[in-house]
Amino acid sequence: MKRSAPFGWAVVCAPALLLVIIPLLALTGRSSASRILYALGREETQSAIALSIRTTVLSALIVAFIGLPLAFFLARCRHWLAKIADAISDTPIVLPPAAAGIALLAAFGREGLVGSKLDEWGIQIVFTSTAVVVAQCFVALPYFVRSATEGFRNLDSDTFAAAAIDGATGVRSFWHIAAPQARAAILAGLLLAWARALGEFGATLMFAGNFVGRTQTMPLAVYSGFEGDLDIAISLSVILMAIALLVILAARWVGRTRTA
């Protein structure tokens, strides 16, 4: 009975694990080092990778900058408004990316709610690399906010109270006590948000378009490759898969070193 238990678990866990493992292995099997090298040599691939790096790093930084105060507020505030804000900031996670793309167009398009005002000032977002960043921030924000909020919730309340008694103001105690203590959760959130931004596809396609060098990020190059050069599509998919694995491992590792 005792001996069969692990076997039993293996059997019941297998479907879920295989569902993830088989496609990942199959994807690797479709590829080869020489094909990846060929794909990496193509100008289209290089510009997609360069654009992806530029935009996702910027998006991750923006998300962290605007997300930190929100996360802190959500973690420390018990007001019902905080609960509503929490739900709102989570919405992009469950919103279908294509719907997010249309929503962004409705907001920032040339004839959109905000976009028409920007257009009057000569600022246009749609079809530019800026649109790529906006789409990435939109979908990545909740991942950062969730993780950072969790970090702030686990703060040691005593030190915090002590700091308040010592006369530390909100901003000071945030920078000197809260942020360092929640560092691991913030970093993990940053990594997850960056990875989500890197994988962003649907909203980018709708909102930013699919233009080589300007808005064609790696996932969009995978999509275009599927219609043109399958080697590029597969190679970029393998690279994105490898990055996804590394990010998940890194986020785990960052989280562990702090809490241990």
């Binding site: 167009l105 004839e111 079809f127 233009f211 219609e227 043109g228």
Partner: protein, 248 residues
């Protein structure tokens, strides 16, 4: 009992006719579907609309399908080369001209093809992997023979989006994100927020549409029946009603 269920499943499956049709054929084919199904009570059309190259890829990769309606010969040839469409079943069935579609906000600035080179315009074109994009480039080259290489370079530098179908170009213009684009005559009908401008006949490129029933799908007879219907007087009238011209 099981064989009975299986029998029903097989029978109902064989009644479906899976149709892969170029995105620009959506409207006439939705009407075609109603008329065809009324005339053939046993058959149920299942239409999938997308860029022809996407559909050709699906056929080459073995997607279940019974008939292919392509917006150009090249994608049809790919499907024929894969061995799934017998060459002798391929027929031209319609043609379509290109035209300019200009967003309301830009109608004052863009009156004809020549104006596409003006500074600060935002153009949306179909990408060169789809037939509409190929035709567009050909048309622009034809025009540049008279208007010059500099003109062509300026037009190209005004392009802000390359879409995977002419229908997506229409959406970009309808939403006001692009000032103008090149689309099929049939796409340009009844678009809100935009108006149509003709392209001179000696530059224009005619899109020739080809059909072919698929030999190894679930219902090749259904595919052939539909092909015959599209080529019939009744089918051609529906195409005409939606702005398509006769096969040329």
């Amino acid at each position: 009992m099981i064989s009975l269920l299986l029998g029903i499943a097989l029978e109902s499956a064989s009644r479906d006719v899976i149709v892969l049709a170029a995105a620009s054929l959506r409207n006439p084919f939705l009407e075609m579907e109603r008329v065809f199904e009324a005339k053939n009570p046993g058959l149920d059309l299942k239409c999938s609309f997308a860029g022809s190259q996407e559909l050709a890829t699906q056929i080459v990769m073995g997607a279940p399908a019974d008939a292919f309606f392509s917006a150009d010969r090249k994608q049809m040839d790919l499907a024929v080369k894969s061995g799934r469409i017998p060459e002798r079943w391929v027929r031209p069935f319609a043609s379509n001209d290109l035209c300019l579609l200009v967003a309301k906000r830009a109608v004052g600035k863009i009156k004809k093809v020549d104006d596409l080179s003006h500074d600060g315009l935002k153009l949306s074109l179909a990408c060169d992997k789809v037939p509409a994009g190929n035709y567009t480039i050909q048309m622009l080259r034809n025009a540049s023979a008279k208007l010059g290489e500099v003109w062509l370079a300026k037009v190209i530098s005004n392009v802000v989006s390359r879409e995977t179908s002419a229908a997506m170009v229409v959406a970009r213009i309808e939403m006001g994100e692009a000032d103008a684009g090149v689309v099929y005559e049939t796409d340009a009908n009844g678009v809100r927020n935009a108006s149509k401008r003709p392209i001179p006949a000696d530059w224009n490129v005619i899109a020739r549409y080809f059909l072919g029933a698929i030999g190894d799908g679930g219902n090749p007879e259904g595919g052939q029946k539909l092909s015959a219907f599209v080529l019939s007087r009744e089918g051609q009238l529906i195409l005409r009603k939606h702005g398509f011209s006769a096969a040329r």
